[in-house]
């Protein structure tokens, strides 16, 4: 119940003055409220939790994480494991 799941915003509209939208969770489409992500646009990814968008993905941070992995990979290749 508490698990937020990432999904892709595929449509945005208004219901009773609330920003609502359709979200694609890898094929399953559900409705969510986006009042807490006023800036979100169609095509963005966000964490959806009990029908509410809580956080939009930060693409820059995603890039930085990939960079981190590239560093770890090249680092692991260069250095022998001190415990072995």
């Amino acid at each position: 119940m508490c698990l937020g799941v990432p999904g892709k915003v595929i449509e945005l509209y208004e219901v009773n003055g609330m920003k609502m939208g359709k979200v694609d969770f890898g094929g399953a489409i559900k409705e969510a409220c986006f009042e807490y992500l006023p800036e979100i646009e169609v095509g963005s990814y966000a964490i959806i939790h009990v029908g509410f968008g809580l956080s939009e993905v930060d693409e820059e941070e995603v890039e930085k994480t990939y960079e981190l992995f590239r560093e770890i990979e090249s680092f692991s290749e260069k250095l022998p494991d001190p415990k072995k």
């Binding site: 009042e35 807490y36 009990v50 809580l54």
Partner: protein
């Protein structure tokens, strides 16, 4: 799916585990706060892949598990009333009360409905003006924005036959309670990423400092968890204290300010009783004065006092505090299974007992290992 599959990648997880192996020089106990993280750890086998020096202790972050028995009994009484439509997240229906559960109310003819979002309950209220609709608003800071919006909308749209039975708890007071308990020994915490997506992590900084314990904001997929563990081990091995964010693609230090604003205008902080743990001061939310007519406990105050009856064999309180693990319970896997749960930690998808059972962490398999 994008932003999901790459964080379930086995090779990336193994790469991080290699780094953890290189860093770790002595035993450390880390507590993952959230039950969703516990399940992901068990499902991916991370607990068995990590070096033996690292002991993962499972925390109290399972909302279904910590909802006090009194409130479950109250929910059962309310749901049994003929004029009421009782709406809840699916997990809550199987949680045992003193007598029966919400499923048994439904079997006996009560109108109990499983919903996905509190806005669904509001819609049901609008479509059934002759009925009273009650929503069981449980959860940590992650469900608070949704529940706050449902109540705010009920007030704005004048939906008077809608109320919520609130059982909201918050993470920081629970961390403090765990750190003050003489029975629990936690060296570092993996904070729940989605709670921090809402609230940020500024609240954790004074806690880390006061108790000299690192706290790392951590996500839910195996790669995210391994990264959180690596960060925490790095801090511990280097003797550094502080809060680090290992889930930056969704969490910022200040959190979601829009959500915090509505939470503040609808709820106020109160003491809350946690099932199996007891009262933790200032550890939850209740509706404030402006929204009291949407508070089911105040609206239906006639059902206030109920005699509760907790199982004497269930040790879920100790499990939720990290004092014991599920396979140390004498009932685990024998008299207590997800099909016939004795305690709430065997019911929920986020309960530690259910995670151990589902992914085969029996004592037997451990000694065979």
């Amino acid at each position: 799916m994008k932003y999901l599959d790459e964080y379930r990648d086995k090779e990336k997880t193994e790469l991080l585990i290699e780094q953890i192996e290189k860093k770790v020089t002595r035993p450390w106990s880390l507590m993952e706060i959230c039950g969703g993280q516990t399940h992901s750890i068990m499902k991916s086998g991370l607990d068995q892949l990590l070096p033996p020096e690292i002991n993962l202790i499972h925390g109290p972050g399972c909302p279904v598990c910590v909802t006090p028995l009194e409130l479950i009994d109250k929910a059962i009484s309310l749901a049994s009333m003929p004029e009421i439509i009782f709406c809840s997240y699916g997990d809550m229906l199987r949680v045992p009360g003193s007598v029966g559960n919400l499923f048994s109310v439904r079997a006996a003819g009560g109108d109990v409905r499983i919903i996905y979002s509190p806005l669904d309950a509001l819609r049901i209220a609008k479509n059934n003006p002759e009925k009273e609709v009650i929503f069981f608003g449980i959860g940590f800071e992650t469900t608070a924005p949704a529940n706050a919006m449902a109540v705010f909308q009920a007030k704005t749209q004048g939906v008077e036959n809608f109320s919520i039975l609130v059982s909201h708890v918050t993470v920081p007071p629970a961390i403090r309670a765990i750190l003050e308990s003489p029975e629990v020994n936690v060296d570092g915490f993996l904070a729940a990423g989605h709670v921090c997506a809402v609230m940020g992590y500024w609240e954790y900084e004074p806690i880390a400092k006061k108790y000299q314990t690192p706290i790392v904001v951590t996500g839910f997929e195996p790669v995210d968890l391994a990264r959180g563990i690596l960060n925490c081990i790095q801090l511990l091995e280097e003797g550094k204290i502080g809060v680090e964010n290992a889930y930056p693609r969704y969490v910022q230090q200040q959190g979601n300010l829009e959500a915090q604003k509505l939470i503040k205008s609808v709820f106020e902080i109160c003491d809350r009783k946690w099932r199996g743990i007891g009262n933790i001061p200032m550890s939850g939310y209740r509706l404030n004065e402006d929204y009291e007519k949407f508070d089911a406990e105040r609206k239906f105050s006639g059902i206030q006092e109920i005699q509760t009856n907790e199982s004497s064999v269930c040790i879920s309180g100790e499990i939720l505090q990290g004092i014991k693990k599920p396979d140390e319970c004498s009932e685990f896997g024998s008299r207590c299974t997800p099909e016939f749960p004795i305690g709430a930690t065997m019911v929920s998808d986020e309960g530690a007992c259910a995670a151990y059972f589902r992914y085969g962490r029996m004592k037997l398999s451990r000694t065979n290992f």
